[in-house]
Amino acid sequence: MQPTFFGKSGQQLFGVYHPPLARRSPAASALLCHPAAQEYMRTHWAFRKLAAELSRAGLHVLRFDWHGTGDSSGEPQGASVPLWISDVGTAAAELADLADVARPSLVGLRLGALLAALAVQRGLAVKDLVLWEPALDGASHLRELAEIEKARYDSLAMPSRSGPEELFGYAMTSALRRELEALDLRKVGPLRADRIVVVTGAARPEHEELRASLRDGAGRPPEILVAVEDVKDPTDGVMLSSKAQMAIAATVAGAAA
């Protein structure tokens, strides 16, 4: 495991590179895209485990923090959707340098899945695109986060409320909120990926919406891969997940074989 900063000076992103622990020919790589804000904190451990699993399967793996989040440079107040989409390209270029592999598989969780799909829409060449519990659209995702925040804070004896430009204790400018609310995974059109796989703990009607709207490079709808977690809570399920990680690792490593 190698922690690293990369990208343009002044806009450096933090990432952790996991070199392959098994020989694989041809070489293959995977780029992991975190969710945002509070979900990023809660799923860090799951990403570390997923990266280790992929690395054991012989892939070069890079996971990175979005601009203005985690250890990356910038403030959340300076974050924007175009900047985050360009982060995917920057990280993919870094991974291509490290691995000497042109097309990575791309794995994104929640908002990370939506941003990963948008990066592919804007021309990033990838093998598999794995959408892990994807946020279907920005507006419902923000509403859901606000509901989780409210439920969690209401259960405390001393509830503390976020300010107007704040979500779950993280800065959320009205400009970023508007940009996120305009995103819709069902409207990104055909994506130039070899395959699109949706990984979820439970099949839901919204996944059929994705099958009806998303198409990979060969015009096929996404595969829906259900990996039932032992922990049922959707957030904790992902944080503590092992089934989804195993399923993703098997999918990405299998395709790369």
């Binding site: 922690p3 259960s155 409320r161 204790g169």
Partner: protein, 290 residues
Amino acid sequence: MKERAHLFGSSGGLVGVTTEPDGGALPGAPVVLLFNVGLNHRVGPGRLNVDLARSLAAVGVPSLRFDVSGLGDSEPRGDAGDDVARQVADLREAMDFAEKKLGVHRFVPVGLCSGTDGVHGAAMADPRVAGAAFLDGYAYATPGYRFRASMLRLGRLRDPVRWKFALRRRWRRLRGLSTGEEVEIGAPEPIFDRSYPPVERFRSDLEALLARNVKLLFVYTAEAWFFNHREQFRRMVGWRTLPPAVEVEYWREADHVFRTLAQRRRAVQRVTSWVRDALVEAPARRAGAA
């Protein structure tokens, strides 16, 4: 400000990020050590440690934020020891590394909640610790604490907001929407328990640190266990007056992890100004006057 990622420690398995001020550190500035809060990785809840590192760099103070062994991106330690022993060992390895990398020999560990165990242990064990900050650190109930806690409970009976939350909780439980696991202030959670040193040892430890001229900052929030007034600190330790090297604050509006932006900014500013005023400017002034 320059940030660099590192692997360090005796086994090379600790992951950390140094944040250095543009133009170099102020003369006499220590290195601030920031690490995990609970199970969060090194960036801290709400990015607290990152904000703090950058705020410190803006006033000329470098820092190293890192994951202790077995948390975040760091590997577990091979040697034995409980959580506190491992934290102390990791903090000392962080000092060894930062000494070589940054050429600084004075350190200020900052801990929150269970992290204060390691800060306390490292401060006692290592003479390189020049200052230590404890956010919701050790506290001991006094008669005044118990009286105020009783008054607080009575006061809550008159607070319609608390009634609303209490009734909602009861309603959710009745409807089977909740298992009743919500945690009240100060009620220890079954999966998380800590043992504090006896107050006599806490006092003798503090006095040993003061004899070494170690500067100490204690910030307690409304969610701290067994603490509800600034004056309680002096009384629980048994001091007539608070020594000048000890700063104590009680923030009745703040929660345990500074959940909101406003609370987090306050915590970042308070720790930054304490490091600058107590640990940078005074030694620099003395050096200048000598």
